[in-house]
């Protein structure tokens, strides 16, 4: 198939998919389901960008994906918060359901070296994917072995590390244009900053997940 034919065909499919999804969204009344459908909309956006089929399109996928993930993340938390506040105003006492923990054995017996390998491999990879791999390593460690509590200071500290890593990346970006001769240094500054930034965020989300898994608030 010619590229132009493929593009035409793909666009028709994408537009049809968008039509169906928006129709489904318009018919849906429950908030949670609407949230899920809006995530599907983001998937179709990715298709429309990816159809262009060049290296540039491949790179534009990343911002598009992150934007949709960010928006869904934010409004999902707002939804939880909103429903809780509503229940509290109605006088319903929200209690975590009473259950005995599953006590999955592998959580205690798993070897910690897996986490170490993941973190080291993530550091070698650098960039978004490296950050994700290292982050999974951190989550693995936090879920299985770490017993500490999140205090305010701890949360703030980890977020600050993430923020500082982000500024490192900004420095890298500016170096590319101020001193182009240092491109290799700037590349590693950018990649390294990203690893730390993504990994720390994964870690924080991991702790949050662990606490709700164990039924603690």
């Amino acid at each position: 198939m010619e590229l132009s034919e493929a593009y035409q065909f793909g666009m028709i499919i994408a537009m049809g998919a968008a039509f169906i999804t928006f129709l489904g969204f318009a018919r849906e009344k429950r908030d949670l389901h609407r949230l899920v459908i809006s995530d599907m909309v983001a998937g179709i956006t990715l298709v429309i960008v990816a159809i262009v089929g060049t290296d540039l399109a491949e790179c534009l996928i990343l911002p598009t994906l992150v934007v949709s993930v960010a928006e869904v993340l934010a409004i999902a938390e707002i939804l939880i918060h909103k429903e809780e506040l509503k229940l509290r105003e109605e006088g319903v006492i929200i209690s975590t359901p009473n259950y005995s923990p599953l006590g999955i054995e592998v959580f205690q017996s798993s070897s910690i070296i897996v986490a170490l390998i993941l973190i080291i491999y993530g550091a070698i990879l650098t960039g978004f994917t490296g950050g994700a791999v290292a982050g999974v390593g951190m989550v693995y460690y936090l879920l299985t072995r770490w017993d500490g509590k999140i205090t305010k200071d701890f949360w703030d500290g980890i977020s600050s590390v993430s923020g500082i890593a982000w500024t490192l990346w900004l420095v890298g970006f500016l170096l590319f244009f101020i001193v182009p001769e240092f491109w290799l240094f700037a590349l590693f500054l950018s990649g390294g900053g990203l690893v730390v930034k993504v990994a720390t965020k994964f870690g924080l989300i991991g702790i949050e997940g662990r606490d709700s898994m164990r039924g603690e608030s």
């Binding site: 968008a18 290296d55 540039l56 994917t129 923020g163 982000w166 608030s217």
Partner: protein
């Protein structure tokens, strides 16, 4: 003008708004299915398919010796264009010489065409994208903190 009263009433309810937005754009997508989309033949950053350790992301060049040839929008604005594309860490080039499948993970190794575009020629996009993620994370973090009462 009863219908107008009704329309204003519907528009004034925040709960109905996403639905109205979805319905109003449905027509556009319906027209979109019937349209003709002419594909521009000379795209920027085109793909090429050479069988090597970096397939399908091999754009030529040798690490630290010779830059790759990149079709950018404004090559004159990026002086060192092509160097990042051709760069591979010693570990990655060792892997590339051993296997044909390194290309599938080139996104995550330092160097390569994707890093060139993401960090260098369109770096501002990536800066913005990460700030969007950071803002979402801040909102979530703030709401969780409120919930924990800290």
């Amino acid at each position: 003008m009863k219908w107008m009263d009704k329309a204003w009433m519907i528009l004034s309810d925040p709960k109905e708004l996403p639905k109205i937005f979805a319905i109003s754009i449905l027509f556009v997508f319906f027209v979109g299915i019937l349209l003709n989309y002419p594909y521009y033949p000379d795209q920027l950053y085109p793909k090429s398919f050479e069988l090597s350790g970096l397939y399908p992301y091999d754009r030529g060049g040798t690490p630290l010796k010779e830059p790759a040839k990149i079709v950018a929008q404004y090559p004159q604005n990026s002086e060192m264009i092509g160097w990042i594309t051709s760069y591979l860490t010693p570990f990655s080039s060792w892997l590339a010489s051993k296997t044909l499948y390194l290309g599938t993970t080139i996104v995550s190794h330092p160097g390569g065409i994707v890093d060139e575009i993401l960090y260098y020629t369109r770096g501002l996009d990536t800066v913005l994208e990460s700030s969007i993620m950071m803002m979402a994370f801040l909102i979530v973090g703030f709401l969780i903190k409120l919930k924990r009462g800290g």
